[in-house]
């Protein structure tokens, strides 16, 4: 206990995140006797945080989380030194030197990107990392010590759940498909950037001939009455397009045929008239407070609206966008906190669901699915924070044999609700913590360097400030301090296909990619491949080695295309489907039958009243076990 006290008092700790886990963690660290705590968080406080982030009050809404959390903890532990940073952990000031000053780093983050970034900095600075995540009643804490245990990226993380394009555009079978259609296609088409590619119509209109005049359908014509416009859009997407789809009989051989819905079927003339008039005297005009629900006198977001109510919301929200928020049209992207956008998407998704015989959902549920909203409660965060501190103390005592990863379960497994598991050894083929090269199959005559940078280096490898080299030849470099010649040179390179770069990249070439901030390097062997499957390999390239373990990736590859979280780069999403009872967890290798059953039960219980549950990656969870060696290829740390 004395040793414990002295390591705790002498430790300098970095906390990343002052949210759900962060508030609990900062409190528990301070109570446990930690004296020197630094905390980084870029977020400000929102109302929906207050149910669990107990250091914050209504009056703090809009203020910096890290600063308010610091002040709140100082009230009951005034002598603790807490330094807060209202900043992004990916900012260059938080470089390897910065990380080196700490004895341990504790993550309470809510997104994969930042977690990967911190993992690399901890590896480069050789500082132990205690990582955590929660969703609902489930949570986990893991310990990552360079050379001793696996790093955060030793096991590939689950890719965001994606759906085949044709499922979204033509053959939805679940409500989430309707949400994705309403949000990523219809909403984007009507209110978003007109120049964006959009799959709306392409599939349902069976051939390119009709897609030409389709472009105009969504434009409001010069002087067109807003209600006429609304009805025209409605009839086109819910009526005409469905008729078109029905004409392709092949599609419906083994499926239930959808029913076209026209505005005249769902609205009486009287209703349609009335619709427009209710809101004239609405007092509030400022953007986000405009609401079709309130102008139609509908109050409860938990209600499931009838088809006719959904149609009225559809027309009213469309009308309100044009009348009250006309200036934003063309620049809008879906935001879960934008009431009117949520109303429009809920209504459109429900009307489409009705057409396809899919059960309708309330606005509350639709908002959760469309916004990938995290399920969160205070208790799980408190438990996880307690476990983080316990692991942090072991790390500080260098008590390697006692390190554990711990899972917080909703239903007991072998009588346990908190299940400790010995950490795994580093994965020898991990491209992050070992030096194993990756393999990239790519069409070197067609893919540009730009495509490689965007789709592989940034999207897949999670680098922010990359340098790309072929041997000693510099092909590309990102950063603020480059001279103009260099910038021009790199700009030119980005537009070239790989085989035509100054030092050509062809089959057999090895590229070295480095991120200066992360102090992280990896090598990629290039293999030329002529053809890629548009549906299955939409990137037009395929990275393998670490990222594509056979078991976990087969399914994902099949599904690739549209993903529900596409509009937000820092949220990775997984949909968990209760019918199948499958909890989508990345680390499938670890799963053994007993625990996966528990996981399935957990998922089933939590989703019993819903068709769907979306889990944020705050939460790349759950349920793995390692107490059995059966089917487990990884080595336990000794």
């Amino acid at each position: 206990m004395d040793l414990q006290l002295s390591v705790v008092k002498g430790a300098k700790v970095l906390m990343v995140g002052a949210g759900g886990i962060g508030c609990e963690l900062l409190k528990t660290l301070a109570l446990s006797g930690f004296q020197d705590i630094h905390i980084i968080d870029m977020d400000t406080i929102e109302v929906s945080n207050l149910n669990r982030q107990f250091l914050f009050r209504q009056s703090h809404v809009g203020q910096s989380k890290s600063k308010v959390a610091r002040d709140a903890v100082l009230k009951f532990r005034p002598h603790v030194s807490i330094k807060s940073y209202h900043a992004n952990v990916k900012d260059p000031e938080f470089n390897v030197e910065f990380f080196k000053q700490f004895n341990v780093v504790l993550n309470g983050l809510d997104n994969l990107d930042a977690r990967r970034h911190v993992n690399r900095l901890c590896l480069a600075a050789n500082v132990p990392l205690v990582e955590s995540g929660t969703t609902g009643f489930l949570g986990q804490v893991t310990v990552h010590v360079k050379g001793r245990t696996e790093c955060y990226e030793c096991q590939p993380k689950p890719a965001p759940k994606t759906y085949p394009v044709c499922t979204i555009t033509s053959t939805p079978s679940k409500f989430v498909h309707c949400i994705v259609w309403a949000k990523d296609l219809l909403f984007a088409k009507l209110f978003g950037d007109k120049n964006q590619e959009n799959d709306l119509n392409i599939r349902s209109s069976d051939g390119a001939s009709s897609s030409e005049n389709v472009v105009d359908v969504f434009e409001r014509r010069e002087g067109e009455d807003i209600d006429d416009y609304g009805r025209r859009i409605f009839d086109h997407v819910f009526g005409y397009n469905i008729e078109l789809a029905l004409s392709n009989e092949e599609t419906w051989k083994n499926r239930n045929k959808p029913k076209p819905i026209y505005s005249k079927d769902v609205l009486s003339d009287e209703l349609a008239q009335q619709n427009g008039n209710v809101v004239q005297d609405s007092a509030t005009d400022d953007g986000l407070s405009v609401s079709a629900m309130s102008s139609l006198g509908m109050k409860n977001p938990q209600d499931i609206w009838s088809l006719s109510e959904n149609s009225r919301i559809f027309f009213e929200s469309l009308r309100l966008f044009f009348m009250k928020r006309g200036k934003e049209i063309g620049n809008l992207s879906f935001d879960k906190d934008d009431q009117l956008a949520v109303e429009f998407v809920t209504a459109a998704a429900n009307i489409r669901a009705a057409s396809f015989g899919i059960p309708l959902h309330s606005l509350f549920e639709a908002k959760g699915i469309a916004g990938n909203i995290v399920h969160a409660v205070a208790t799980t965060n408190a438990i996880i924070a307690g476990l983080i501190v316990i692991e942090a103390i072991k790390v500080l005592k260098n008590d390697i044999k006692s390190y554990r990863m711990t899972y917080c379960l909703e239903h007991p497994t072998r009588k346990m609700l908190l299940m400790p598991v010995e950490p795994f050894e580093p994965n020898e083929s991990c491209y992050v913590c070992s030096e194993t090269p990756l393999l990239l199959e790519i069409n070197t005559h067609r893919s540009k360097l730009k495509d490689f940078v965007e789709r592989i280096v940034k999207a897949k490898l999670g680098m922010n400030l990359p340098i790309i080299m072929q041997g000693s030849n510099l092909l590309f470099e990102a950063g603020d301090d480059l001279d103009e010649d260099m910038i021009a040179n790199y700009e030119a390179n980005l537009e070239k296909v790989l085989a035509e770069l100054p030092s050509p990249v062809t089959s057999g070439t090895m590229l070295t990619v480095e991120d200066l901030l992360q102090e992280f390097t990896c090598n990629i062997n290039i293999k030329h491949r002529e053809e890629f499957d548009e549906e299955k390999e939409p990137d037009g390239m395929l990275l393998s080695g670490w990222t594509q373990p056979v078991s976990a990736s087969e399914k994902e590859k099949e599904d690739k295309s549209i993903n529900n979280g596409a509009n937000s780069s820092d949220v990775t999403v997984e949909a968990v489907e209760d019918e199948t009872g499958v909890v989508a967890v990345g680390v499938k290798k670890r799963r053994i039958s007993e625990t996966s059953e528990v996981a399935a039960n957990a998922a089933a219980d939590e989703t019993n009243h819903k068709q769907y549950q979306v889990i944020d990656d705050e939460d790349d969870l759950v349920v793995l076990d390692g107490n059995s060696d059966a089917g487990n290829k990884r080595k336990r740390m000794q």
Partner: protein, 321 residues
């Protein structure tokens, strides 16, 4: 439960948790009345959790005045003598908890647990007891059980880096949904006295050692007339002697209760804040389950020891009860 909808304010505040347990459960929570007796770090954690979750009311009872020890793992009390002088622990915690959630009524009642009558307990749906003697626990438990309505009864104790929760839901029915099916489930709970009277020999060999160790300490404190937690390393010989007697009376091997564990429990009786957070979190979750009728409740003991990191559930009841 029908008819009453959550207000807009409630829906906004509780959005993330309604997504976990549903609007129905949230409505039930907002009508539940919770009593806690004996406030240390673990109970402070529990109170925070339950106030954030949005129970109807929370009533605090603890007439002790604040001192260094009481402050050590309690984040509800500012360590400023000017603030805490002359106030009881319950009053100080109340001042702080009121701020956590304006929709929850937090109040203080003065008095000793043993003096409260059955009518008093009748006002609550949940009663949580901590830091009190074996006799007081049993008495309060009995009073709750005598009521015609169900009062969910819990005791909680943390020492060193260990914690224990006891649960008595009397006769508890709940519906359990599994995929498409809904099953009606029923659990019969023994009272504290009956649970701890189950012969040790009748319990599975793998039963948590902590269960037995806590019983030894409890008995020791009762026999010596100590207040809960009033033991020190000087008492170790006496505690070990009592252990021997209990093991032989129960005809179990002495290895049932490791000496090293007893030594930890008597040497360091102060709470370890991470364990307070864990036990307070599990307890919060259990109370939310019991109020909402959602999810399998714990039956009937829970143990956590930071040493091995396991959080274990134990069913200690007569098999045919």
């Amino acid at each position: 439960m029908d008819g009453e909808e959550l207000t807009e304010q409630e829906t906004a505040l509780y959005d993330r948790q309604i997504r976990v347990w549903g609007a129905d459960a949230q409505r039930r929570l907002s009508k539940a009345h919770v009593l806690v007796y004996g406030i240390k770090g673990t109970i402070a954690e529990f109170c925070k959790n339950i106030v954030l979750a949005g129970v109807g009311s929370l009533t605090l009872v603890d007439d002790r005045v604040a001192n260094e020890e009481a402050l050590s793992s309690n984040f509800l009390i500012p360590p400023d003598e000017n603030v805490y002088r002359g106030k009881t622990l319950a009053e100080l915690c109340c001042d702080s908890l009121i701020d956590f959630n304006p929709m929850v009524r937090v109040s203080v009642v003065k008095g000793d647990l043993s003096d409260f009558g059955i009518d008093f307990f009748n006002k609550f749906d949940v009663v949580v007891i901590s830091c009190c003697s074996l006799a007081a626990k049993k008495l309060a438990n009995d009073k709750c059980r005598k009521l015609s309505k169900r009062v969910s009864f819990y005791t909680v104790d943390c020492r060193d880096s260990c914690g224990e929760i006891f649960v008595d839901l009397k006769d508890y029915r709940y519906s359990k949904k599994k995929l498409e099916e809904t099953n009606e489930c029923q659990l019969q709970y023994p009272c504290f006295e009956d649970a701890v009277s189950v012969p040790w020999k009748a319990l599975p060999r793998k039963t948590s050692k902590l269960y037995f160790a806590m019983r030894v300490i409890e008995k020791f404190e009762e026999a010596e007339g100590r207040s809960p937690g009033e033991v020190s390393v000087a008492d170790l010989p006496g505690v070990l002697k009592l252990k021997e007697e209990l093991c032989s009376a129960q005809s179990v091997n002495e290895s049932h209760v490791p000496d090293s564990l007893l030594e930890r429990l008597v040497t360091n009786t102060t709470e370890f804040p991470p364990v307070c957070a864990i036990i307070g979190g599990i307890l919060g979750q259990e109370v939310i389950k019991a109020i909402s009728g959602k999810g399998d409740p714990l039956k009937n003991f829970f143990f956590f020891d930071a040493m091995d990191g396991k959080g274990v559930m134990e069913d200690i009841s007569e098999p045919n009860a």
